[in-house]
């Protein structure tokens, strides 16, 4: 197909869009709203995933201190821990607090501790490693490193629950992809149906163009371009709406839904581009299927 043909196709696509602006507006509205459904789900899913990962990826360590250290040593340990890469010093638990926690934890059995003369529990610093890929972290090496610090008695970390969380994240991911797949099918179906209807309302055009000797492609191309444009515009509208929704929900005071203050993150660029691309592709596929129909009849 030469350049001149493309000029015709595009020209006619735009003439058609103008001539059928009502139908196009309706169709774009439908495509946009189904893409909004899709995009909102992706956004929700992405955030759930994000929260899960953030939660799951925070490896926490307890650094137990020797009983007899002075304030200076303690301050030194504290500053050393603070400077560990991507670590966050959560809290300092004194010997007394440790005992209180233990009594609470034992509940009815706390009578067990009644015989103790002195508090055998060590004080500790609790640290959390955030925003790191848990697989790249070497907790064992870290533990040994920290234990070398003067005044540190022992370092403990628990890994077991990580597996559980990772399982949950995995379930969420699989469920998410299944739902996204279903949604995608529904959106494809709705989009192609809508474009089918727009073309159906103009089936006389197809007939007349064939009567003046237009090739199948000459007839189809403007419809395909129109479909692509509808999808593209629908995608852009959907994305704008989702962005707006995002801004609305991520405002400082989102207590309308009573959610605990969770940090809402927006989709990464790749996902954004994907929604627009999806609109474009759906528009193309929709018009392709739809226009094909009216050639056999």
């Amino acid at each position: 197909m030469g350049l001149r043909n493309w000029a015709y196709y595009s020209k006619h696509a735009f003439i058609n869009i103008f001539g059928n602006r009502l139908v196009h507006a309706i169709s774009i509205g439908t495509i946009a709203s189904s893409l909004i459904l899709f995009g909102s789900f992706i956004l929700l899913f992405y955030n759930l995933n994000h929260w899960m990962l953030e939660w799951g990826q925070s490896l926490s360590m307890s650094v137990y201190l020797q009983d007899e250290i002075d304030q200076k040593t303690k301050a030194r340990i504290e500053s050393l821990l603070k400077n560990l890469p991507s670590a966050e010093l959560k809290e300092y638990i004194s010997k007394d607090r440790a005992m209180e926690d233990l009594i609470d934890g034992l509940g009815v059995h706390s009578g067990l501790l009644e015989g103790l003369k002195e508090n055998p529990l060590p004080a500790s610093f609790e640290i959390i490693f955030k925003d790191v890929n848990i697989r790249q972290l070497d907790p064992q090496g870290m533990k040994e490193e920290i234990e070398k610090i003067e005044g540190v008695q022992e370092v403990q970390y628990s890994e077991e629950w990580l597996d559980r969380l990772e399982g949950l994240v995995y379930v969420l991911k699989v469920a998410g992809f299944i739902i996204a797949g279903f949604l995608c099918l529904a959106v494809l179906f709705i989009t192609t149906n809508t474009i089918k209807l727009t073309i159906y309302s103009r089936r006389d055009e197809v007939e007349i163009l064939k009567l003046v000797g237009a090739t199948d492609w000459f007839v189809k191309m403007p419809f395909l371009i129109e479909g692509a444009i509808q999808g593209l515009v629908g995608g852009v509208i959907a994305l704008s709406t989702i962005s707006l929704l995002f801004l609305l929900f991520s405002m400082d005071k989102v207590h309308i839904i009573g959610l605990p203050v969770l940090e809402i993150v927006f989709l990464p660029m790749a996902h954004l581009a994907f929604i627009i691309l999806l609109g474009l592709i759906l528009g193309l596929i929709g018009s392709f299927i739809a226009v094909g129909r009216f050639f056999d009849a």
Binding site: R202, D204, E205, L209, L211, V212, G213, D216
Partner: protein, 218 residues
């Protein structure tokens, strides 16, 4: 140019055409006439390849329409002009675009498309209505757009189905002069009509149909 051998066309049980044998030579000017429902439109549509015959063979310029490929039919249609009884204009495109489309499908250069389209519209007296839409035209004006579209690509064969049914005597005369001049330049012209007046003072060949059969020729 155009040959029909034992052609029949049925729609369900009703027989629109029966056993038609016909030969139209290059450059001929032929009228097809007969009462309403006689099969005139059906005959023209068979020649144009819009409908396949139920029986028989149709040859256009030596090509058998029964065996023609889709793309060749497209090419053939570009060398033919057809004025449809119900005009078949694109209601969402302007008069100019409606006529230009017949050239654009051939891949003609834009400058030439413009020039020829203006000429054709001028020939049917619609220069002033180029930017209007078909529904903004009177019935006769719409019919003239359909005529302009049929003649704009200098067709080898021009087929017109009741092309003056909505035109007044003066314009009818102009249109007939247009058809004659196109015919003189070598185009084969076939016109279906009821109008006795149209055929009155001509020496042209006339094919008379009745209930799907060819009754006589003159």
């Amino acid at each position: 140019m155009i040959q029909l051998f034992r052609v029949s066309k049925s729609f369900g049980t009703s027989k629109a055409l029966q056993d038609i044998n016909l030969r139209i030579r290059k450059g001929e000017f032929v009228f097809v006439t007969g009462p309403s429902g006689a099969g005139k439109t059906t005959l023209l549509r068979l020649i144009f390849g819009t409908e396949p015959p139920t029986e028989g063979q149709i040859l256009i310029r030596g090509i058998n329409l029964n065996r023609i490929r889709r793309t060749s039919l497209d090419l053939l249609r570009r060398r033919m002009g057809f004025v449809f009884q119900d005009f078949k204009l694109l209601s969402r495109k302007t008069v100019f675009q409606n006529v230009a489309i017949a050239l654009e499908v051939t891949g003609e250069r834009p400058a030439i498309v413009r020039k020829k389209t203006h000429q054709a519209l001028k020939a049917v007296g619609l220069s002033k209505k180029e930017e209007l839409f078909p529904l903004q035209l009177s019935g006769g004006e719409q019919q003239r757009v359909a005529i302009a579209r049929a003649v704009v690509n200098d067709p080898l064969i021009l087929i017109a189905d009741e092309p003056t049914g909505n035109l007044d005597p003066d314009i009818t005369r102009d249109i007939m002069i247009l058809f004659r001049s196109i015919n003189l330049r070598g185009t084969t012209v076939i016109i279906a009509t009821h109008s006795q007046e149209l055929m009155k003072d001509t020496e042209q060949r006339i094919i008379l149909l009745k209930e799907g059969r060819m009754l006589r020729e003159r």
